[in-house]
Amino acid sequence: MRNSLAAKRREHNLRQDEVARAVGVSRQTIIAIEQGKYDPRLALAFRLASFFSCGIEDLFDPDE
């Protein structure tokens, strides 16, 4: 599953650790998601979308 988490994070001028702390996961989790090596659970995907004030489909693309 492709995602635009890294782009969103840079757009908001945030560090990986800041995003991780905001959504309650480890920094390694954010790194793995950004690299496309880890697909988050639905609850975390929603928290990330909520944190960036966007829709879940704006962050994650299930077609990829």
Partner: protein, 137 residues
């Protein structure tokens, strides 16, 4: 990394002191063994405490974290290895002519497999249970 270096240094240092004092003062081996056992058990509990503390600090214990998912997978794979190890122990004991050890090994094997399926059934039942509000007409 530093807390672990300190932890192991204190642990091995304590063991060395116990052994050295025991030899110097001719303390009975039973007391030395009990003290060494206490340090090893304390070390095991301490390492778990330290590990949990570090995981909490890094939010690695969160259910959504990569580390948690990996930990669950690792535990599942370790269970399979443990099952094989117990079966192997039972087989060795069988050929070694130790009926009590063989019995214990196969009893543990049965308990572990039964526990797996009981937990599986409980989790499946919980996942599929409904309060009637989500029934498909």
């Amino acid at each position: 990394m530093k807390p672990w270096i300190l932890f192991f240094a204190v642990g091995f240092g304590t063991l060395a002191v116990i052994i050295a004092v025991g030899q110097a003062l001719s303390i009975p081996p039973l007391i030395i063994n009990v003290l060494i056992g206490a340090v090893i058990i304390g070390g095991g509990l301490g390492s778990k405490w330290l590990s949990d503390r570090q995981r909490r600090a890094a939010r690695a214990d969160s259910e959504d974290s990569l580390e948690h998912q990996i930990s669950v997978k690792a535990a599942a794979q370790t269970f399979q290895i443990a099952i094989l190890a117990i079966a192997g122990l039972g087989a060795i004991a069988l050929f070694d002519g130790s009926p009590l050890t063989t019995g214990f090994a196969f009893a543990f094997l049965l308990i572990a497999i039964a526990a797996h399926w009981l937990i599986y059934a409980r989790l499946r039942r919980r996942a599929l249970s409904t309060d009637g509000t989500h029934e498909v007409p």
